[in-house]
Subunit: 229 residues, 2 copies
DNA sequence: TTCTCAAAAATATGATCAAATATTTTGAAC
DNA sequence: GTTCAAAATATTTGATCATATTTTTGAGAA
Protein backbone atom coordinates (compact mmCIF):
# COMPACT_ATOMS: atom_id res chain seq x y z
CA UNK A 1 0.00 0.00 0.00
CA UNK A 2 2.86 2.29 0.92
CA UNK A 3 4.58 1.67 -2.36
CA UNK A 4 1.47 1.35 -4.44
CA UNK A 5 2.17 2.24 -8.00
CA UNK A 6 0.35 5.44 -8.81
CA UNK A 7 -1.61 5.01 -12.03
CA UNK A 8 -0.44 7.27 -14.81
CA UNK A 9 -3.83 8.89 -15.10
CA UNK A 10 -3.58 10.09 -11.51
CA UNK A 11 -0.12 11.52 -12.02
CA UNK A 12 -1.27 13.30 -15.16
CA UNK A 13 -4.33 14.60 -13.37
CA UNK A 14 -2.17 16.17 -10.67
CA UNK A 15 0.07 17.82 -13.25
CA UNK A 16 -2.80 19.31 -15.22
CA UNK A 17 -4.44 20.35 -11.99
CA UNK A 18 -1.39 22.38 -11.04
CA UNK A 19 -1.30 23.96 -14.48
CA UNK A 20 -4.84 25.13 -13.82
CA UNK A 21 -4.32 26.16 -10.20
CA UNK A 22 -1.24 28.21 -10.92
CA UNK A 23 -2.43 29.92 -14.04
CA UNK A 24 -0.32 28.14 -16.65
CA UNK A 25 -3.61 27.44 -18.37
CA UNK A 26 -5.44 30.70 -18.76
CA UNK A 27 -9.18 31.49 -18.85
CA UNK A 28 -10.70 30.85 -22.25
CA UNK A 29 -7.80 28.74 -23.45
CA UNK A 30 -8.82 25.69 -25.47
CA UNK A 31 -7.48 22.44 -24.12
CA UNK A 32 -7.07 19.43 -26.36
CA UNK A 33 -6.11 15.87 -25.59
CA UNK A 34 -3.33 15.88 -28.14
CA UNK A 35 -2.06 19.25 -26.95
CA UNK A 36 -1.65 18.00 -23.41
CA UNK A 37 -0.22 14.71 -24.64
CA UNK A 38 2.57 16.68 -26.30
CA UNK A 39 3.16 19.21 -23.53
CA UNK A 40 3.26 16.51 -20.86
CA UNK A 41 4.83 13.79 -23.02
CA UNK A 42 2.06 11.47 -21.86
CA UNK A 43 -0.29 8.86 -23.29
CA UNK A 44 -3.70 9.72 -24.67
CA UNK A 45 -5.71 7.48 -22.37
CA UNK A 46 -4.39 8.92 -19.10
CA UNK A 47 -4.80 12.45 -20.46
CA UNK A 48 -8.35 11.74 -21.53
CA UNK A 49 -9.24 10.36 -18.16
CA UNK A 50 -7.62 13.24 -16.33
CA UNK A 51 -9.53 15.70 -18.49
CA UNK A 52 -12.77 13.90 -17.76
CA UNK A 53 -12.05 14.18 -14.10
CA UNK A 54 -11.16 17.85 -14.24
CA UNK A 55 -14.29 18.73 -16.17
CA UNK A 56 -16.32 16.97 -13.49
CA UNK A 57 -14.68 19.22 -10.93
CA UNK A 58 -15.39 22.39 -12.86
CA UNK A 59 -11.70 23.01 -13.45
CA UNK A 60 -12.23 22.59 -17.18
CA UNK A 61 -15.36 23.35 -19.10
CA UNK A 62 -16.84 21.00 -21.70
CA UNK A 63 -18.45 23.06 -24.44
CA UNK A 64 -21.44 21.82 -26.42
CA UNK A 65 -19.29 21.36 -29.53
CA UNK A 66 -17.09 18.69 -27.98
CA UNK A 67 -14.39 21.22 -27.21
CA UNK A 68 -12.89 21.86 -23.81
CA UNK A 69 -11.68 25.17 -22.47
CA UNK A 70 -10.37 26.69 -19.29
CA UNK A 71 -13.42 28.38 -17.74
CA UNK A 72 -13.76 32.14 -17.76
CA UNK A 73 -15.39 33.57 -14.70
CA UNK A 74 -18.30 35.95 -15.01
CA UNK A 75 -18.89 38.50 -12.30
CA UNK A 76 -21.80 36.51 -10.91
CA UNK A 77 -19.64 33.43 -10.82
CA UNK A 78 -17.05 35.35 -8.84
CA UNK A 79 -19.81 36.23 -6.40
CA UNK A 80 -20.77 32.59 -6.16
CA UNK A 81 -17.18 31.58 -5.49
CA UNK A 82 -16.89 34.37 -2.95
CA UNK A 83 -19.92 33.15 -1.07
CA UNK A 84 -18.95 29.49 -1.26
CA UNK A 85 -15.38 30.10 -0.15
CA UNK A 86 -16.56 32.17 2.81
CA UNK A 87 -18.93 29.37 3.73
CA UNK A 88 -16.61 26.41 3.44
CA UNK A 89 -13.05 27.48 4.16
CA UNK A 90 -13.51 29.08 7.59
CA UNK A 91 -15.41 25.99 8.64
CA UNK A 92 -12.39 23.90 7.73
CA UNK A 93 -10.29 26.25 9.84
CA UNK A 94 -12.70 25.97 12.72
CA UNK A 95 -12.45 22.19 12.63
CA UNK A 96 -8.67 22.34 12.26
CA UNK A 97 -7.94 24.64 15.20
CA UNK A 98 -8.49 22.17 18.05
CA UNK A 99 -6.35 19.73 16.13
CA UNK A 100 -3.49 22.12 15.49
CA UNK A 101 -0.13 21.10 16.90
CA UNK A 102 3.39 22.46 16.74
CA UNK A 103 4.19 20.36 13.70
CA UNK A 104 1.39 22.00 11.76
CA UNK A 105 2.22 25.55 12.74
CA UNK A 106 5.86 24.96 12.03
CA UNK A 107 4.98 23.60 8.61
CA UNK A 108 2.71 26.57 7.94
CA UNK A 109 5.49 28.97 8.92
CA UNK A 110 7.86 27.28 6.51
CA UNK A 111 5.36 27.60 3.69
CA UNK A 112 4.68 31.21 4.59
CA UNK A 113 8.39 31.98 4.56
CA UNK A 114 8.61 30.58 1.05
CA UNK A 115 5.56 32.62 0.14
CA UNK A 116 7.09 35.82 1.43
CA UNK A 117 10.32 35.08 -0.43
CA UNK A 118 8.34 34.57 -3.63
CA UNK A 119 6.66 37.93 -3.08
CA UNK A 120 10.01 39.65 -2.56
CA UNK A 121 11.33 38.11 -5.76
CA UNK A 122 8.27 38.94 -7.81
CA UNK A 123 7.82 35.25 -8.46
CA UNK A 124 4.18 34.95 -9.43
CA UNK A 125 4.06 31.21 -9.81
CA UNK A 126 5.89 30.73 -6.54
CA UNK A 127 3.38 33.01 -4.87
CA UNK A 128 0.43 31.03 -6.22
CA UNK A 129 2.00 27.72 -5.28
CA UNK A 130 2.86 28.60 -1.72
CA UNK A 131 -0.37 30.45 -1.12
CA UNK A 132 -2.24 27.34 -2.22
CA UNK A 133 -0.03 25.13 -0.10
CA UNK A 134 -0.51 27.30 2.94
CA UNK A 135 -4.26 27.16 2.71
CA UNK A 136 -4.47 23.47 2.02
CA UNK A 137 -1.97 22.41 4.64
CA UNK A 138 -4.29 24.13 7.06
CA UNK A 139 -7.52 22.77 5.61
CA UNK A 140 -6.18 19.23 5.40
CA UNK A 141 -5.46 19.38 9.12
CA UNK A 142 -9.21 19.47 9.64
CA UNK A 143 -9.52 15.89 8.43
CA UNK A 144 -12.84 16.75 6.80
CA UNK A 145 -12.56 15.16 3.38
CA UNK A 146 -15.87 16.29 1.93
CA UNK A 147 -15.41 19.94 2.83
CA UNK A 148 -11.83 19.71 1.64
CA UNK A 149 -12.97 18.42 -1.75
CA UNK A 150 -15.42 21.31 -2.00
CA UNK A 151 -12.66 23.80 -1.18
CA UNK A 152 -10.37 22.25 -3.76
CA UNK A 153 -13.05 22.44 -6.39
CA UNK A 154 -13.52 26.13 -5.61
CA UNK A 155 -9.81 26.81 -5.88
CA UNK A 156 -9.63 24.96 -9.17
CA UNK A 157 -12.38 27.14 -10.56
CA UNK A 158 -10.71 30.31 -9.35
CA UNK A 159 -7.10 29.36 -10.06
CA UNK A 160 -6.63 30.61 -13.62
CA UNK A 161 -8.26 33.94 -12.80
CA UNK A 162 -6.12 34.49 -9.72
CA UNK A 163 -3.09 34.86 -11.90
CA UNK A 164 -4.65 37.88 -13.54
CA UNK A 165 -4.84 39.54 -10.16
CA UNK A 166 -1.26 39.45 -9.20
CA UNK A 167 0.38 41.96 -11.46
CA UNK A 168 -2.28 44.44 -10.67
CA UNK A 169 -2.06 44.23 -6.96
CA UNK A 170 1.42 42.96 -6.28
CA UNK A 171 2.46 46.26 -4.75
CA UNK A 172 -0.53 46.57 -2.55
CA UNK A 173 0.29 46.14 1.06
CA UNK A 174 -2.24 43.82 2.61
CA UNK A 175 -2.36 42.80 6.25
CA UNK A 176 -0.63 39.46 6.53
CA UNK A 177 -3.52 37.20 7.36
CA UNK A 178 -1.36 34.13 7.20
CA UNK A 179 0.78 35.25 10.12
CA UNK A 180 -2.33 36.14 12.10
CA UNK A 181 -3.74 32.74 11.29
CA UNK A 182 -0.65 30.92 12.48
CA UNK A 183 -0.60 32.81 15.75
CA UNK A 184 -4.26 32.10 16.32
CA UNK A 185 -3.60 28.41 15.70
CA UNK A 186 -0.83 28.45 18.25
CA UNK A 187 -3.24 29.96 20.76
CA UNK A 188 -6.06 27.64 19.71
CA UNK A 189 -8.09 30.75 19.05
CA UNK A 190 -10.63 29.52 16.50
CA UNK A 191 -12.49 32.82 16.20
CA UNK A 192 -9.38 34.77 15.28
CA UNK A 193 -8.15 32.09 12.90
CA UNK A 194 -11.49 31.99 11.11
CA UNK A 195 -11.66 35.74 10.87
CA UNK A 196 -8.13 35.93 9.47
CA UNK A 197 -8.97 33.39 6.78
CA UNK A 198 -12.20 35.19 5.99
CA UNK A 199 -10.31 38.47 5.63
CA UNK A 200 -7.73 36.72 3.47
CA UNK A 201 -10.49 35.37 1.24
CA UNK A 202 -12.10 38.80 1.05
CA UNK A 203 -8.84 40.46 0.06
CA UNK A 204 -8.22 37.92 -2.67
CA UNK A 205 -11.72 37.75 -4.08
CA UNK A 206 -12.17 41.54 -3.94
CA UNK A 207 -9.13 41.76 -6.18
CA UNK A 208 -10.46 39.14 -8.58
CA UNK A 209 -13.68 41.08 -8.77
CA UNK A 210 -11.84 44.33 -9.46
CA UNK A 211 -9.85 42.82 -12.28
CA UNK A 212 -13.00 41.52 -13.82
CA UNK A 213 -14.76 44.85 -13.56
CA UNK A 214 -11.89 46.92 -14.92
CA UNK A 215 -10.49 44.40 -17.31
CA UNK A 216 -6.99 42.97 -17.41
CA UNK A 217 -5.25 45.01 -20.10
CA UNK A 218 -3.72 47.25 -17.48
CA UNK A 219 -2.83 44.08 -15.61
CA UNK A 220 -0.60 42.71 -18.31
CA UNK A 221 1.45 45.88 -18.37
CA UNK A 222 1.97 45.95 -14.65
CA UNK A 223 2.94 42.30 -14.59
CA UNK A 224 5.83 43.20 -16.81
CA UNK A 225 6.87 46.23 -14.84
CA UNK A 226 6.72 44.38 -11.55
CA UNK A 227 8.73 41.44 -12.73
CA UNK A 228 11.37 43.75 -14.16
CA UNK A 229 12.36 44.73 -10.61
CA UNK B 1 -27.01 22.70 -31.28
CA UNK B 2 -30.60 21.84 -30.50
CA UNK B 3 -30.21 18.36 -31.95
CA UNK B 4 -26.65 17.88 -30.88
CA UNK B 5 -25.89 14.25 -30.51
CA UNK B 6 -25.27 13.52 -26.87
CA UNK B 7 -22.06 11.53 -26.48
CA UNK B 8 -22.64 8.08 -25.08
CA UNK B 9 -20.39 8.76 -22.13
CA UNK B 10 -22.68 11.59 -21.04
CA UNK B 11 -25.79 9.47 -21.34
CA UNK B 12 -24.17 6.69 -19.36
CA UNK B 13 -22.99 9.17 -16.76
CA UNK B 14 -26.54 10.38 -16.22
CA UNK B 15 -27.85 6.85 -15.84
CA UNK B 16 -25.23 5.84 -13.32
CA UNK B 17 -25.72 9.11 -11.52
CA UNK B 18 -29.42 8.32 -11.04
CA UNK B 19 -28.56 4.85 -9.79
CA UNK B 20 -26.44 6.53 -7.15
CA UNK B 21 -28.88 9.33 -6.31
CA UNK B 22 -31.82 7.02 -5.88
CA UNK B 23 -30.12 4.30 -3.96
CA UNK B 24 -29.98 1.57 -6.59
CA UNK B 25 -26.29 1.45 -5.83
CA UNK B 26 -25.89 1.06 -2.09
CA UNK B 27 -23.15 2.22 0.30
CA UNK B 28 -20.15 -0.11 0.27
CA UNK B 29 -21.15 -1.79 -2.95
CA UNK B 30 -18.25 -2.51 -5.29
CA UNK B 31 -18.69 -1.05 -8.74
CA UNK B 32 -16.88 -2.53 -11.73
CA UNK B 33 -16.64 -1.40 -15.29
CA UNK B 34 -17.76 -4.75 -16.64
CA UNK B 35 -20.60 -4.92 -14.13
CA UNK B 36 -22.02 -1.63 -15.30
CA UNK B 37 -21.36 -2.53 -18.93
CA UNK B 38 -23.64 -5.54 -18.48
CA UNK B 39 -26.33 -3.86 -16.38
CA UNK B 40 -26.54 -0.89 -18.75
CA UNK B 41 -25.80 -2.78 -21.96
CA UNK B 42 -23.19 -0.17 -22.74
CA UNK B 43 -19.64 0.05 -24.07
CA UNK B 44 -16.61 -0.07 -21.84
CA UNK B 45 -15.13 3.26 -22.81
CA UNK B 46 -18.20 5.37 -22.01
CA UNK B 47 -18.63 3.49 -18.73
CA UNK B 48 -14.99 4.05 -17.80
CA UNK B 49 -15.24 7.73 -18.49
CA UNK B 50 -18.49 8.08 -16.58
CA UNK B 51 -16.94 6.31 -13.62
CA UNK B 52 -13.95 8.61 -13.74
CA UNK B 53 -16.26 11.57 -13.68
CA UNK B 54 -18.33 10.24 -10.81
CA UNK B 55 -15.30 9.51 -8.70
CA UNK B 56 -14.15 13.09 -9.25
CA UNK B 57 -17.48 14.25 -7.88
CA UNK B 58 -17.27 12.06 -4.79
CA UNK B 59 -20.23 9.98 -5.92
CA UNK B 60 -18.00 6.93 -6.21
CA UNK B 61 -14.90 6.23 -4.19
CA UNK B 62 -11.62 5.03 -5.71
CA UNK B 63 -9.91 2.73 -3.24
CA UNK B 64 -6.17 2.44 -3.07
CA UNK B 65 -6.32 -1.06 -4.55
CA UNK B 66 -7.75 0.07 -7.87
CA UNK B 67 -11.24 -0.89 -6.83
CA UNK B 68 -14.21 1.42 -6.81
CA UNK B 69 -17.08 1.39 -4.36
CA UNK B 70 -20.12 3.40 -3.48
CA UNK B 71 -19.01 5.53 -0.52
CA UNK B 72 -20.18 4.78 2.97
CA UNK B 73 -20.77 7.81 5.09
CA UNK B 74 -19.20 8.08 8.50
CA UNK B 75 -20.91 10.15 11.15
CA UNK B 76 -18.41 12.98 10.73
CA UNK B 77 -19.04 12.95 7.00
CA UNK B 78 -22.74 13.25 7.65
CA UNK B 79 -21.95 16.30 9.76
CA UNK B 80 -19.88 17.71 6.95
CA UNK B 81 -22.69 17.19 4.46
CA UNK B 82 -25.13 18.68 6.93
CA UNK B 83 -23.06 21.82 7.28
CA UNK B 84 -22.35 22.14 3.58
CA UNK B 85 -25.96 21.61 2.56
CA UNK B 86 -27.13 24.21 5.07
CA UNK B 87 -24.55 26.62 3.67
CA UNK B 88 -25.17 26.16 -0.03
CA UNK B 89 -28.76 25.18 -0.63
CA UNK B 90 -30.55 28.03 1.16
CA UNK B 91 -28.30 30.45 -0.69
CA UNK B 92 -29.53 28.97 -3.96
CA UNK B 93 -33.07 29.48 -2.73
CA UNK B 94 -32.31 33.05 -1.76
CA UNK B 95 -31.02 33.77 -5.25
CA UNK B 96 -33.96 31.96 -6.84
CA UNK B 97 -36.76 33.73 -4.97
CA UNK B 98 -36.65 37.09 -6.79
CA UNK B 99 -36.59 35.14 -10.05
CA UNK B 100 -39.53 32.90 -9.19
CA UNK B 101 -42.50 33.11 -11.54
CA UNK B 102 -45.77 31.31 -11.94
CA UNK B 103 -44.26 28.77 -14.29
CA UNK B 104 -41.75 27.72 -11.66
CA UNK B 105 -44.21 27.45 -8.80
CA UNK B 106 -46.62 25.54 -11.00
CA UNK B 107 -43.84 23.17 -11.97
CA UNK B 108 -42.85 22.72 -8.35
CA UNK B 109 -46.45 21.96 -7.41
CA UNK B 110 -46.65 19.29 -10.07
CA UNK B 111 -43.48 17.66 -8.79
CA UNK B 112 -44.71 17.87 -5.22
CA UNK B 113 -47.98 16.23 -6.19
CA UNK B 114 -46.05 13.36 -7.71
CA UNK B 115 -43.96 13.24 -4.55
CA UNK B 116 -47.01 13.04 -2.33
CA UNK B 117 -48.50 10.32 -4.51
CA UNK B 118 -45.27 8.35 -4.20
CA UNK B 119 -45.43 8.71 -0.44
CA UNK B 120 -49.04 7.45 -0.38
CA UNK B 121 -48.09 4.46 -2.47
CA UNK B 122 -45.00 3.61 -0.45
CA UNK B 123 -42.93 4.08 -3.59
CA UNK B 124 -39.45 4.68 -2.24
CA UNK B 125 -37.74 5.25 -5.55
CA UNK B 126 -40.49 7.59 -6.66
CA UNK B 127 -40.09 9.51 -3.44
CA UNK B 128 -36.35 9.90 -3.94
CA UNK B 129 -36.79 10.93 -7.55
CA UNK B 130 -39.41 13.55 -7.01
CA UNK B 131 -37.76 14.91 -3.88
CA UNK B 132 -34.58 15.39 -5.88
CA UNK B 133 -36.46 16.93 -8.75
CA UNK B 134 -38.27 19.33 -6.47
CA UNK B 135 -35.07 20.59 -4.91
CA UNK B 136 -33.20 20.94 -8.14
CA UNK B 137 -35.99 22.54 -10.11
CA UNK B 138 -35.85 25.19 -7.43
CA UNK B 139 -32.08 25.47 -7.25
CA UNK B 140 -31.72 25.61 -11.02
CA UNK B 141 -34.01 28.61 -11.06
CA UNK B 142 -31.25 30.50 -9.26
CA UNK B 143 -29.08 30.37 -12.38
CA UNK B 144 -26.00 30.00 -10.18
CA UNK B 145 -24.07 27.21 -11.88
CA UNK B 146 -21.20 26.92 -9.45
CA UNK B 147 -23.38 26.69 -6.36
CA UNK B 148 -25.64 24.29 -8.22
CA UNK B 149 -22.71 22.01 -9.00
CA UNK B 150 -21.72 22.05 -5.34
CA UNK B 151 -25.26 21.14 -4.32
CA UNK B 152 -25.38 18.32 -6.82
CA UNK B 153 -22.10 16.96 -5.58
CA UNK B 154 -23.49 16.96 -2.05
CA UNK B 155 -26.62 15.14 -3.10
CA UNK B 156 -24.58 12.57 -4.98
CA UNK B 157 -22.59 11.87 -1.87
CA UNK B 158 -25.68 11.57 0.30
CA UNK B 159 -27.92 9.77 -2.21
CA UNK B 160 -27.19 6.11 -1.45
CA UNK B 161 -27.52 6.69 2.29
CA UNK B 162 -30.83 8.48 1.96
CA UNK B 163 -32.46 5.28 0.84
CA UNK B 164 -31.61 3.70 4.17
CA UNK B 165 -33.58 6.42 5.86
CA UNK B 166 -36.87 5.89 4.23
CA UNK B 167 -38.11 2.65 5.62
CA UNK B 168 -37.28 3.79 9.07
CA UNK B 169 -39.04 7.08 8.95
CA UNK B 170 -41.65 6.64 6.29
CA UNK B 171 -44.48 6.84 8.80
CA UNK B 172 -43.15 9.90 10.52
CA UNK B 173 -45.29 12.91 9.92
CA UNK B 174 -43.07 15.81 9.08
CA UNK B 175 -44.21 19.32 8.36
CA UNK B 176 -44.45 19.70 4.62
CA UNK B 177 -41.62 22.08 3.94
CA UNK B 178 -42.12 21.84 0.21
CA UNK B 179 -45.58 23.35 0.39
CA UNK B 180 -44.32 26.09 2.67
CA UNK B 181 -41.50 26.72 0.21
CA UNK B 182 -43.83 27.03 -2.75
CA UNK B 183 -46.06 29.48 -0.94
CA UNK B 184 -43.10 31.56 0.10
CA UNK B 185 -41.94 31.63 -3.51
CA UNK B 186 -45.35 32.84 -4.61
CA UNK B 187 -45.10 35.63 -2.07
CA UNK B 188 -41.46 36.36 -2.93
CA UNK B 189 -40.71 35.79 0.73
CA UNK B 190 -37.07 34.78 0.65
CA UNK B 191 -36.66 34.45 4.41
CA UNK B 192 -39.52 31.97 4.72
CA UNK B 193 -38.42 30.01 1.67
CA UNK B 194 -34.88 29.72 2.99
CA UNK B 195 -36.08 28.67 6.41
CA UNK B 196 -38.36 26.04 4.95
CA UNK B 197 -35.50 24.56 2.94
CA UNK B 198 -33.23 24.67 5.97
CA UNK B 199 -35.85 22.84 8.01
CA UNK B 200 -36.30 20.33 5.22
CA UNK B 201 -32.56 19.72 5.16
CA UNK B 202 -32.48 19.35 8.94
CA UNK B 203 -35.30 16.84 8.91
CA UNK B 204 -33.62 14.76 6.25
CA UNK B 205 -30.11 14.88 7.61
CA UNK B 206 -31.24 14.27 11.19
CA UNK B 207 -32.78 11.07 9.95
CA UNK B 208 -29.63 10.05 8.11
CA UNK B 209 -27.69 10.66 11.27
CA UNK B 210 -30.11 8.57 13.32
CA UNK B 211 -29.87 5.64 10.96
CA UNK B 212 -26.12 5.80 11.16
CA UNK B 213 -26.10 5.90 14.93
CA UNK B 214 -28.58 3.10 15.43
CA UNK B 215 -27.68 1.02 12.45
CA UNK B 216 -29.91 -0.07 9.62
CA UNK B 217 -30.89 -3.64 10.54
CA UNK B 218 -34.17 -2.42 11.97
CA UNK B 219 -34.51 -0.34 8.83
CA UNK B 220 -34.56 -3.29 6.49
CA UNK B 221 -37.41 -4.88 8.37
CA UNK B 222 -39.50 -1.77 8.38
CA UNK B 223 -38.89 -1.24 4.69
CA UNK B 224 -40.54 -4.55 4.11
CA UNK B 225 -43.46 -3.94 6.42
CA UNK B 226 -44.11 -0.51 4.98
CA UNK B 227 -44.07 -1.65 1.40
CA UNK B 228 -46.41 -4.51 2.21
CA UNK B 229 -49.18 -2.02 2.85
C1' DT C 1 -13.89 42.52 -50.81
C1' DT C 2 -17.36 39.07 -48.86
C1' DC C 3 -19.95 34.91 -49.06
C1' DT C 4 -20.65 30.05 -50.06
C1' DC C 5 -19.35 25.47 -50.37
C1' DA C 6 -16.58 21.40 -50.45
C1' DA C 7 -12.47 19.29 -49.02
C1' DA C 8 -8.88 18.83 -45.71
C1' DA C 9 -7.41 18.99 -41.10
C1' DA C 10 -8.16 18.80 -36.26
C1' DT C 11 -10.35 16.79 -32.53
C1' DA C 12 -13.36 13.88 -29.65
C1' DT C 13 -15.42 9.46 -29.08
C1' DG C 14 -15.87 4.54 -28.73
C1' DA C 15 -14.04 -0.16 -29.57
C1' DT C 16 -10.79 -3.49 -28.76
C1' DC C 17 -6.80 -5.64 -27.13
C1' DA C 18 -2.72 -6.62 -24.29
C1' DA C 19 -0.36 -5.85 -20.07
C1' DA C 20 -0.41 -4.91 -15.20
C1' DT C 21 -2.37 -5.56 -10.83
C1' DA C 22 -5.33 -7.37 -7.17
C1' DT C 23 -8.38 -10.86 -5.43
C1' DT C 24 -10.14 -15.36 -5.08
C1' DT C 25 -9.78 -20.18 -5.42
C1' DT C 26 -7.48 -24.42 -5.02
C1' DG C 27 -4.70 -27.91 -3.18
C1' DA C 28 -1.20 -29.51 -0.06
C1' DA C 29 0.70 -29.72 4.53
C1' DC C 30 0.06 -29.58 9.36
C1' DG D 1 -9.93 -27.22 11.07
C1' DT D 2 -5.98 -23.55 9.71
C1' DT D 3 -2.19 -21.82 6.99
C1' DC D 4 0.31 -20.93 2.94
C1' DA D 5 1.71 -20.74 -1.79
C1' DA D 6 0.53 -21.21 -6.48
C1' DA D 7 -2.79 -20.96 -10.00
C1' DA D 8 -6.80 -19.07 -11.78
C1' DT D 9 -9.79 -15.37 -12.20
C1' DA D 10 -11.31 -10.70 -12.05
C1' DT D 11 -10.44 -6.08 -12.77
C1' DT D 12 -8.01 -1.84 -14.03
C1' DT D 13 -4.96 0.55 -16.96
C1' DG D 14 -2.92 2.18 -21.14
C1' DA D 15 -2.20 1.76 -26.18
C1' DT D 16 -3.91 1.98 -30.55
C1' DC D 17 -7.06 2.31 -34.14
C1' DA D 18 -11.36 3.45 -36.60
C1' DT D 19 -15.29 6.34 -36.68
C1' DA D 20 -17.84 10.56 -35.86
C1' DT D 21 -17.94 15.39 -35.45
C1' DT D 22 -16.30 20.14 -35.73
C1' DT D 23 -13.26 23.62 -37.48
C1' DT D 24 -10.33 25.49 -40.88
C1' DT D 25 -8.85 26.25 -45.45
C1' DG D 26 -9.01 27.31 -50.17
C1' DA D 27 -11.36 27.98 -54.46
C1' DG D 28 -14.96 30.07 -57.00
C1' DA D 29 -18.76 33.29 -57.55
C1' DA D 30 -20.92 37.68 -56.81
Amino acid sequence: MEHRKVPEHEAIYLRIREMILFGVLVPGQPVTIQGLVEVLDAGTTPVREAIRRLTAEGALEAKGNRRITVPELSLTQVEELYFARLSIEPKLVQIAVPRANEELTKHLREIDNHLNAAISEGDIEGYLKYNYRFHFALYEAAGAGILLALAQSLWLRAGPSLRGVLGRYANTIQPDQHDITIRALENHDAATACRAIEDDIRQGMDQVRQVLIFGDSATQNTVKSVLAD
